[in-house]
Amino acid sequence: MTDAYIFDHVRSPRGRGKKDGSLHSVTPINLLAQMFTAIKDRNDFDVTAIDDVITGCVTAVGEQGGNIGRFAAIMADYGDEVPGMHVNRFCASGLVAANYAAARVMAGQADLMIGSGVESMSRVQMGFDGGAWLIDPQVTNKISSVLQGISADMIATKYGFSRTDCDQYAVLSQERTKSAWDKGHFNNSIIPIKDSIGQVLLDRDEHMRPGTTVEDLGNLKSSFNDMGEIGFDSVILQKYPEIENVIHVHHAGNASGIVDGAAAMLIGTKEAGEKHALKPRARLVSFADTGTDPSIMLTGPGKSARAALARAGLSKDDIDVWEINEAFASVVLRFCQEMDLSTKQVNVNGGAIAMGHPLGATGNMLLGIALDELERTNKRYALVTLCVAGGMATATIIERI
């Protein structure tokens, strides 16, 4: 099997996913194209050598529909000859795009690939693509489909995380994110987003709320009480008959934020790197996609992490840097509980609770953040994982070169 290497990674700052967000005026294809342009400019190589562009995007309808990556590459002046495809594994799409780009390389069917992700949540509303798993009664009944927030609350209930546990973790995320920005940990990868005449629209995450305290968060009302009451609590409780009630602990302050963002990763063989003068920064060691109960939905990361570790022949203790997507505080807490990790060991530069979670891009961003951290600390292995709607999860292990 051919080894797949990461040569470069870029990501946008994350703009608030609302009409007043700094990236709201930027079309998603433009957002993604600016990532592709950065890859080209930073590495100064012949981009027509790229065999394919894979783009993760979750709500792939409207201006995010129609295989956005193919046309973003053209917009970034990669020429007509670089094809593109779209993948959707919900929240892990951006990571899966990198994994599958690597897989093509490993299989000997490509030399140079881009794995990328984009989501402009301010422009294309989450859930706007519908889906049988949400609205077809035969399907929703079969899988006991509930809103993700209800699943996250059930995780907290079932595994014993209190509202305060979740809020404390959220504050930690804010502190770490601020510290990471202040210390410049993200400087190597963040690409400021510009308008058509080159004015900078955003060069720093704008969803963060540094200085948030547990007391501040304590004042927020939990978000899913009402939806739980109309029936969703019942649906998931019927799946877990040992639980009496769902305790609703999540709110906007301890769940991932809605933001706009994009990211890209240049991946290829050692030979392609040599040919185009690209320096390998890390090797993609292993990855895994797994499925678990779609109703509680977000408990998959432990399983996928173990699967990726097993595939790599590594143990938990070999991993130096852990990234577990902060979709909801309880997801991170459960992952740590299941993997017997301290929250000190994961997400040391903060995460989506503070920075936001641009669905299709986040996985790609997390892989980049892990790579930066390995380089900063001179460590070897990083494991990145995300919980995924419908009970899935994806995990990837990389090794710094």
């Binding site: 609205i135 077809d136 029936g231 969703f232 649906v235 409780l237 040992e242 009496e244």
Partner: protein
């Protein structure tokens, strides 16, 4: 052609008048005659150039059309095992095809409605081009099929949403609720309301005024009000929420609910002809399942037979109760007085002190005041009903009573005393009923002058809400007493079952096994939340611990003690006994009464399982799964029912199943415990109970009758 269901007339304007008047039925229902004749009439209306259009109405006052004849349907179902899916689909689709041919016959069809319009009745109406309904708020229109485990199968899931919008239509089908003519007009289901004498003329006038023979959904630019299609945010929201709201109610025990949602979800995206096929597929799916046949049999066919007093001795003349002596004015006595007065029966409400008797009457006053404030009845009528109840502490006032019901303290001596005092006053012909829930009727009857006239009339609490009355025959109870008791139950519009004397009779005896088995499991260290939820999710009306709290842990203790004393060495102790004793005697937890039971009842808050249970009954490290816990709860009850059947306590499977569902809230979707055993398969049930008995003890011992049935390949309901 002879008309057995639909009369055909042509008026001077060449408008056909189809009058539905189904022979041999008190209420119009869709039966084979109806189908055959409607088909012929449609063909004639369509092909005869002279006929301008048609008006459909009813020849019966009470109903326009009350839906399909479920007896006929059950007959069709009986051949289920042999029928192929194709056959069942064909049968299911035939009504859709017929109604579709009506709305596409090329002539304007109007319907004039003056009575009950349910199920297939409303579906027929919606297949007409114009609907006029009489201005009578009491007319009920709706699609209640789900109540017997079915889905609307003659276009209801397609036409109702197309008329009133999907979100508005779903509750009518998922909950089976009715609409009044005014609601139907406001939501676009009908076109016009008119005085009852004018409805046919209004319908004709619409035809003569050039009414179009085309349904909205056959027009090119038709749009469903409120949105349609999976790209519509309203529709997305509806279909995200509705299944969850539905599952909260159904606990996934009623497949018809999901079928209705799917028929609407899939069908509304299709042209009507294809949509109707999708509906018929989901209808056939219910017919091919087990829930609908069981529900139809018990909740409709057999319940109707019970309501019509199938168990009544035929040779006894009708004996309506005119004056009831109600002995004891407590919660039960007060409730019985209320339902009796509501039926127009004069009631003498007797208690030891006039004050207590008056308090019993106040129970009726409270209920009637509420009914008046909700405009259910007027003040005058309420006053009259209340005036029928005479509170007293004087036995002499019982003079002239033709029926007496005793509901005093559960004590043989106290009851004997009351019987004697009463019989000293009432005429010899008076039938004497006891509402005891625990003491054998044959023992109580010994205090009576005439044991033939002594009978058990067992009500359930709260009397005004619970639909069942359990009639208990003592050893010497005569036919006259039975006929009298049944006639009375019919008067107060409740459903009777008739059982033989036994400790706890039928319902109390079987019901108790449910909380008992729950406590047995608790004692073993099974999670009380898991046990409770398994009961609720299995479709029981209430969880076993909640119901034990309602009944009272105190009462459970006393019944247990009494049973122990009565049975002596024959008494079989269970782990539950210790749980009840500990909770009541040691911990002072009496149940809901003192806000301390298996549950905690915080002031103004939601009740929750008492966390202290975990201290006394620590969770076992290995917990059984949901299926296993559910089996123990449900099989335990079903076994006791089977034992009652073997011991002749209950003599008919029909009574056993009706009594279980309406008496103690046994899961209605099963059709009752004996239907449940049939559905599981007697073989398999016996085998599983043997395994449970091996593991948990003799409470799961299989009675001989069941074993015999299993060996002979028999079932309770035959087939």
């Amino acid at each position: 052609m002879t008309n057995k269901a639909i009369k055909f007339e042509l008026d001077n304007d060449n408008i056909a008048l189809l009058t539905i008047d189904v022979e041999g039925q008190s209420m119009n229902v869709i039966n084979e005659d109806f189908l055959r004749e409607l088909k012929a009439h449609i063909e004639k209306i369509s092909s005869d150039d002279n006929i301008k259009g048609a008006v459909i109405c009813s020849g019966k006052d009470n109903a326009f059309l009350a839906g399909a004849d479920l007896n006929m349907l059950l007959g069709d179902l009986a051949m289920n095992d042999q029928a192929s899916p194709e056959d069942i689909f064909k049968t299911s689709f035939s009504l859709n095809k017929l109604f579709r041919s009506l709305e596409t016959c090329g002539k304007p069809i109007a319907v004039a409605i003056a009575g009950l319009t349910l199920g297939g009745g409303l579906e027929l109406a919606m297949s007409c081009h114009y609907r006029v309904v009489a201005d009578n708020d009491k007319i009920k229109m709706g699609l209640p099929e789900i109540q017997v485990g079915l889905i609307p199968g003659a276009g209801g899931t397609q036409r109702l949403p197309r008329l009133m919008g999907i979100q508005a239509a779903l509750p009518y089908m998922l909950q089976g609720k009715n609409m009044s003519p005014k609601q139907a007009l406001a939501s676009g289901v009908i076109h016009e309301i008119a005085p009852v004498g004018d409805i046919i003329n209004k319908a004709k006038a619409w035809i003569l005024g050039g009414g179009k023979a085309e349904q909205p959904w056959d027009q090119k630019r038709f749009k469903i009000p409120g949105g349609q299609g999976v790209y519509d945010p309203n529709i997305v929201q509806t279909f995200m929420g509705a299944p969850a709201m539905t599952q909260k109610q159904t606990k996934n025990n009623y497949p018809a609910a999901v079928a209705i949602l799917s028929a609407v979800y899939e069908g509304h995206q299709l042209p009507i002809d294809l949509a109707l096929k999708v509906e018929s597929t989901y209808f056939a799916q219910q017919i091919m399942g087990t829930v609908a046949p069981n529900m139809i049999r018990t909740l409709f066919v057999n319940k109707n037979k019970a309501d019509k007093l199938i168990r009544r001795p035929k040779d006894q003349p009708e004996m309506k109760t005119k004056k009831l002596g109600m002995l004891g004015a407590g919660l039960m006595g007060g409730g019985i007085a209320y339902v009796s007065a509501m039926a127009g029966i004069e009631v003498v409400l007797l208690d030891r002190e006039l004050e207590f008797a008056q308090k019993g009457k106040d129970y009726s006053k409270t209920l009637l005041d509420k009914a008046v404030s909700r405009k259910k009845i007027n003040q005058e009528k309420a006053d009259h009903i209340l005036s029928l109840i005479t509170p007293t502490a004087d036995y002499a006032d019982l003079e002239g009573c033709d029926l007496v019901i005793e509901a005093v303290l559960e004590d043989v001596d106290v009851k004997a005393d009351v019987t004697k005092k009463t019989q000293a006053v009432v005429p010899d012909s008076c039938i004497y009923g006891s509402n005891t829930s625990t003491l054998p009727i044959s023992i109580l009857a010994k205090a009576s002058k005439d044991q033939q006239k002594f009978i058990g009339i067992h009500f359930f609490s709260p009397v005004d809400k619970m639909p069942l009355v359990e009639i208990i025959l003592g050893k010497n109870t005569g036919d006259e007493a039975l006929a009298k008791a049944l006639d009375y139950v019919r008067q107060i519009r409740k459903t009777p079952i008739v059982v033989n004397d036994s400790r706890g009779f039928y319902t109390s005896r079987c019901f108790m096994t449910y909380p008992v088995e729950a406590s047995n499991m608790l004692a073993e260290g099974v999670s009380p939340v898991l046990i409770e939820n398994c009961g609720v999710y299995a479709g029981m009306a209430v969880g076993p611990f909640a119901v034990n709290d309602e009944v009272g842990i105190e009462l459970s203790y006393h019944i247990g003690q009494a049973t122990k004393a009565a049975l002596g060495d024959a008494y079989k102790a269970e782990a539950c006994d210790g749980v009840i004793e500990k909770l009541y005697k040691e911990l002072g937890r009496k149940g809901k009464k003192n806000h301390k039971g298996f549950y905690e009842y915080p002031e103004g808050g939601k009740k929750f399982i008492w966390p202290g249970l975990a201290t006394h009954y620590p969770l076992a490290p290995e917990q059984p799964n949901q299926e296993y816990v559910t089996k123990r709860l449900m099989y335990r009850q079903a076994l006791e029912v089977a034992r009652c059947y073997q011991e002749n306590v209950v003599t008919d499977p029909e009574d056993a199943d009706i009594g279980a569902i309406f008496g103690w809230g046994f899961a209605p979707w099963t059709g009752g415990p004996l239907s449940m055993i049939d559905t599981i398969g007697v073989d398999k049930f016996v085998e599983e109970c043997d395994a449970l008995a091996q593991k948990h003890g003799s409470m799961f011992d299989v009675p001989e009758n069941l074993r015999k049935m299993s060996a002979n390949g028999e079932t309770f309901y035959g087939s």
